[in-house]
Amino acid sequence: MSPDPARGIDQDPARRPGVPAEKPPHSQPHARNVAQMRQDGRPTGVGETRTPVFGTAQPPRGLSGRLRAAAYAIPEHYARHWMLLILADRVDVLESRVRRRPGMAVVAGAGALLGTLALARALGRR
């Protein structure tokens, strides 16, 4: 038995804030529909239900961006939506390394090319 003196203080489900999980509809105090309101007062574009502030701290770019665009064109109940996103993440990391160290990328690329040529030559001698 717990020595905790507070044991059972929330034993009554009525004291638990998440019971029931889904409450009767009720707006939170002070909550208003500000989704359509820009800071500069301009109206949100026609048909644009979400302003540009929603999401995209890092806009998609490069090959990974194209993969992400392709992924988001596929509904998320398909596994390929997720697989493409995971692939895009790995490509993004490679792209970022190339951007940060282009010299290293050239050396790595040249090394890979030479390695491939050497392998092909070795296989050709068999």
Partner: protein, 383 residues
């Protein structure tokens, strides 16, 4: 400003980014005083969450001081101290009106399955997080909770996520008086789930992990019985033996997709044949008594996991899982903290300046230096 930025799996750096600005009438800018590293940040850190982009700033457990507010914000003023829920919620959509702020329909244009979250990939909306000097807080009237003058930031920091998350985990178990509750995982969420189980009247709480210092801490902090699953042949059978052969009434999965303990699940997770390792969920379903409850608060990624759903059906289990809708728990849990019933700050094992965040991630991920919880101090303060 200085901010943490993801560079690839197991690689984060501190970089300089433009200061966030008010982009929307409902925004606020918060100067971050405390930003914790969450266990779920490790899923991002390990590159396991889809659409985690290079340059992304993590961090969804934040306290700070309001620096600036948008013209539509009515409840906050510059200078207010706030604790920010990890969910970004509009407060007025179908789900927010029903208290389900984790399911907000307006804050995540990228997915239908989850609402917006700070610093948690573009899968949850693509918002930069709070492991930075400043944070932009959308829908500032709906999310942030003002810190009462008699409370310090660290005492309430974990109202942002892990305390309500642990509490909700216990709540989803629908614990009845004197029931036996098994909590898998002695990380921060597991610790708070165990504490909450006592508050809800559990008669016995058993915590399961394999990291010795965490098991020791759980015994001390949450006064639980512990099981080191690595020291028993079969954790499911062991839990049954401890409970008259029936199994615990409630099992809580507070681990999620990075579970250890099963070679098969690890191998399938690494090869992406399932989204991480789901063996804790398998254990929970196996161990819980027939007609018992399994509460899933550990994070699992899409698209699928191997779990014994037929066992769950035949045993007549109730499975419940949800991201925590943090906002509705904050006032209630604040009172528990204020009354001394939960000493949330007691789990902080490390306080680090923002510059040392990469070290903090490495330490937390590798369970070094008896790390329970790392808190970053982006704008200085107690070190």
């Amino acid at each position: 400003m200085k901010a943490l930025a993801y560079q690839g799996p197991k690689h984060v750096e501190i970089v300089t980014k433009p200061d966030p600005r008010i982009e929307h009438a409902g925004d606020a800018i918060v100067r971050v005083t405390r930003a914790a590293i969450c266990g779920s940040d490790l899923h991002l850190y390990h590159g396991l969450v889809p659409d985690t982009r290079v340059g992304h700033t993590f961090g969804h457990e934040v306290t700070g001081v309001v620096q600036e507010v948008g013209r539509a914000v009515t409840t906050l003023r510059p200078g207010d101290r706030v604790v920010v829920p990890f969910n970004i919620s509009c407060g007025s959509c179908f789900y927010c009106e029903r208290g389900l702020t984790a399911n907000c329909d307006r804050t995540n244009p990228n997915s239908q399955i989850v609402g917006g979250v700070y610093g948690y990939s573009h899968l949850t909306g693509g918002y930069d997080g709070g492991q930075a000097e400043y944070l932009r807080v959308p829908f500032a009237d709906s999310g942030p909770f003002k810190i009462p003058d008699d409370m310090d930031d660290e005492s309430v920091l974990f109202l942002s996520d892990i305390l309500p998350t642990g509490y909700q985990a216990a709540e989803m178990g629908e614990i009845k008086p004197n029931e036996t509750v098994a909590v898998f995982g002695c990380g921060p969420v597991g610790l708070f789930a165990a504490k909450s189980a006592w508050l809800m009247g559990a008669g016995r709480v058993i915590a399961i992990d394999s990291v010795d210092y965490r098991l020791q801490f759980a015994r001390r902090f949450a006064e639980v019985e512990t099981v080191d699953y690595a020291q028993v042949d079969d954790v499911v059978a062991h839990l049954r033996e401890m409970t008259d052969g029936r199994g615990p009434d409630v099992c809580i999965d507070a681990v999620g997709l990075e579970a250890s303990g099963s070679l098969m699940h690890r191998a399938l997770g690494v090869t992406m044949l399932q989204a991480g390792a789901a063996n804790v969920l398998q254990w929970a379903i196996g161990a819980v008594r027939k007609a018992g409850n399994v509460s899933i608060i550990g994070v699992y990624g899409p698209p699928w996991n191997l779990i014994p759903i037929g066992v769950a059906m035949n045993k007549g289990l109730t499975l419940r899982g949800a991201q925590c809708s943090v906002r509705r728990y904050m006032p209630h849990l604040l009172e528990h903290i204020r009354a001394g019933r939960i000493d949330a700050r007691a789990i902080i094992s490390h306080r680090l300046p923002l510059d040392d965040a990469p070290k903090g991630y490495h330490m937390f991920a590798n369970k070094q230096d008896d790390c329970i919880k790392c808190v970053l101090l982006p704008n200085g303060g107690l070190a």
